[in-house]
Symmetry: C2
Subunit: 457 residues, 2 copies
């Protein structure tokens, strides 16, 4: 991420300098020659009036449409809302249906209606159909511009259909439909080109075509595309009528989002941006997991008050509670992250259960010994400084060190074993393992700590 | 993930039952009709001898090769190593070069050499070339079977080249080369089909072709593919000679891995599986961040020992340290996860800095008030139970509640602001923010807690 942010920044700086110098020609050179995706990343760094001005230099409506489509939908919507209606409509007409529907979906209803009213009726009808689908469904991310070939055509006729359909997104798979546009099969453009011209499409097509429904969740679509290495998957409605296509570039963002969900889940902060965007839903999603954490914290506090006599004799012991709990919590979070990530990328299969858990146990112990020695030393110095005798303090220092080593070892083991166990019994291993693990580590931490001190004294 | 794991399990159960009943015909039906990706997911649940037996029922060498290629490379390697050499070679010959190179790379050298020695020399030479590239580079993930078309051909001639190259992976982009196989341009199969047969390829091709170098890091390749919505990107060597192609399905796993890296980074556990797989590298990667956490923990312990007089009077105060620190840590981890994930999926742009931070502040405060009231109540009960007077305890209970609310509010704010600040100054916002944030929260937590108690008493 940092690298491309630097590139965006550099491109934006250049454009800003040229804008200040009113160097229209140079701006035009950049705006017409740079890739729309790069321009979009730079444009978001400008205030809205400058974006509109820069866009004017990008040339044809088609190219301007490509740049607007490459912006995040919210930013594209702002841009269309702020520019003259006539220009906004010209750009909208050049955008792919799915991109335009996303952008219009972000506008307020009145502004969207104004743009659609000025578009040719057929196009605005298509867009309105698209906007009816749920945002996170196959219908919401599909492109309606899908090339459907009738099963009754010959290869030569089908090639002519392809030649006469310039507006279709990347047709590498050709979907074959029977009467009434029902999905019947699939064949590749390559099969078409490499077959004899008089071959019938229906004899060539593969009838085992995997399709998704308009209401299919986008994550399920992403899973199908990545599981079977598809470049696209056709979308059908309830009557098996072909209505669109989802291409792999549309689901890459979905895959990225799904893959990063685990961060939210682990922290007990929901699993979707919807959960965290409004105050109310954020509160409702997060509160229950914190309640579990409170319960665990109170158990830890009962453990501590159980050792009140010890504490009253060596008050300084209280000061080391956050050190031991903090270190155990941190090493546990590391183990948890390693295991949850391994499960998400399928590197940690369940068959590696014992191997993974025992590796974390050993790493936790080794790290625990290292920091146990340091903490023992620091503790010894501080107790001596408080006026305790050297010999009296030795067992406390030893107890501190041993407690640190044990707590870190147990923490790493729990944190590795828990998500693997969850996965084994079919529970999502990421959900709220964070609060769950850190809380159990807090309890185990103080248990080990005070028992070690009691033992060595 | 849970859904498809259930499906794998069901398929595996069916196969296991059929194996027990020695129902070869039914096994054959499943092994020849199910998608290789699904079979691979089910096969990993069987012991190695059963996998070999099941594979025998899958039909042609080509189909068996597809199933082996769909397995994780380590599992595919185990399978080839355990079966008869002759069969392993037959399967290897049918695999795509890049898949086979991955599998052979996981075998010990002797076993790999034995298989390659039995393959046709040309194929084994190609594989050996491939295996020389770094595992995580464009060379390591590319397919060498790329369709190169000479710039001097006409469209009709080029189509004939496509027709005579059945072994090439999905040719939707056709790369055009000048003399000595230097990459010169790109055109789509569709352009070829839709142009007049006598058009020269060099007049049709797009010369602004984006390529990557064999040594380019796979994450950079993934970034280029997803940024520009490419379906494939050509790979060239140092002399601009076309040597292979990386297709989008090859980088989806890379994208998933890159997207999930943040979990590891946040926890201070490295950013790559390499960092966590061996004991030694895991220890070395994780120890430094824990050292930072130890430093913070010790600061917190100095804060606590500063309030020794207060502690000696109300020993029970020590018992609530883990409650307040734990709750602040958990709410902070939630805020951190929301912000880091927002940055990774580009939902949280930096322009939302103040909006995001103030939202987390408010949510933290609201959650803090809720749990502050509960903690105040619990604390009041426990102090009273210990024999303190109701009126004496009231300020302590109030202090506990206020401390909880304040600590949670500050924790959420720090945890949201820190990664955004990092991103703003160009530091990766995920790296080790976990230990950094929880440690600063530990310090702030005890500071707020003991000062609140001192204030109210």
């Amino acid at each position: 991420m940092p690298v491309s942010q630097v590139q965006n920044q550099r491109l934006a700086d250049t454009l800003r300098r040229l804008l200040r110098r009113k160097a229209g020609n140079n701006i035009r050179k950049i705006m017409t020659r740079t890739h729309p995706a790069d321009l979009a990343n730079a444009l978001v760094l400008f205030p809205i009036e400058d974006r509109i001005q820069l866009l004017t230099h990008a040339g044809s409506d088609d190219r301007q449409a490509q740049i607007v489509a490459a912006l995040p939908a919210t930013e594209g919507a702002k841009l269309l809302a702020e520019m003259e209606l006539q220009r906004a409509v010209a750009i909208a007409c050049e955008m792919y249906g799915d991109d335009l529907a996303d952008v219009l979906g972000e506008l307020d209803e009145e502004a969207a209606a104004r743009i659609m009213a000025a578009m040719p009726p057929k196009e605005s009808d298509d867009i309105q159909d698209l906007m009816r689908y749920g945002e996170y469904t196959a219908g919401g991310i599909m492109s309606p511009d899908v090339l459907a070939i009738s099963a009754t055509l010959s290869c030569a006729e089908a090639i002519r259909v392809v030649q006469n359909s310039p507006d279709v997104e990347m047709p590498f798979y050709l979907y074959v439909v029977s009467e009434h546009n029902k999905l019947a099969g699939v064949l590749s453009l390559r099969q078409l080109v490499t077959s004899r011209p008089d071959t019938q499409v229906k004899d060539l097509m593969n009838t085992h075509v995997v399709s998704v429904h308009t209401e299919t969740d986008q994550e399920e679509v992403a899973r199908i595309v990545s599981r079977y290495d598809f470049l696209a998957v056709p979308v059908v409605d309830a009557t098996n009528t072909l209505v669109g296509v989802v291409t792999v570039d549309d689901v890459i963002d979905v895959i990225r989002e799904e893959a990063t969900e685990d961060i939210l889940k682990m922290a007990g902060a929901g699993d979707d941006v919807e959960d965290t965007i409004s105050l109310r839903s954020s509160f409702i999603t997060r509160a229950p997991w914190l309640f579990a954490a409170l319960g665990g914290g109170l158990v830890a506090s009962f453990v501590i008050s159980h050792f009140e006599d010890l504490l009253s004799k060596y008050l300084l012991l209280a000061a080391f509670i956050p050190v031991i709990n903090g270190m155990a919590g941190n090493v546990g979070t590391q183990s948890l992250a390693i295991v949850v990530r391994g499960l998400a990328t399928r590197r940690n299969t369940l068959s590696l259960f014992w191997k993974t858990v025992s590796r974390e146990l050993v790493v936790g112990l080794l790290l625990g010994i290292l920091y146990g020695i340091i903490l023992g030393g620091v503790g010894w110095l501080r107790f001596v400084k408080q006026g305790h005798f050297v010999m009296e303090v030795a067992p406390i220092a030893l107890a501190l060190g041993v407690a640190m080593a044990m707590a870190m070892m147990v923490a790493a083991t729990i944190a590795a074993a828990l998500p693997l166990f969850f996965a084994k019994v079919g529970v999502d291993p990421a959900v709220a393992t964070g609060p769950f693990v850190t809380t159990s580590i807090d309890i185990v931490g103080v248990l080990i700590y005070f028992n070690a001190v009691a033992l060595f004294l």
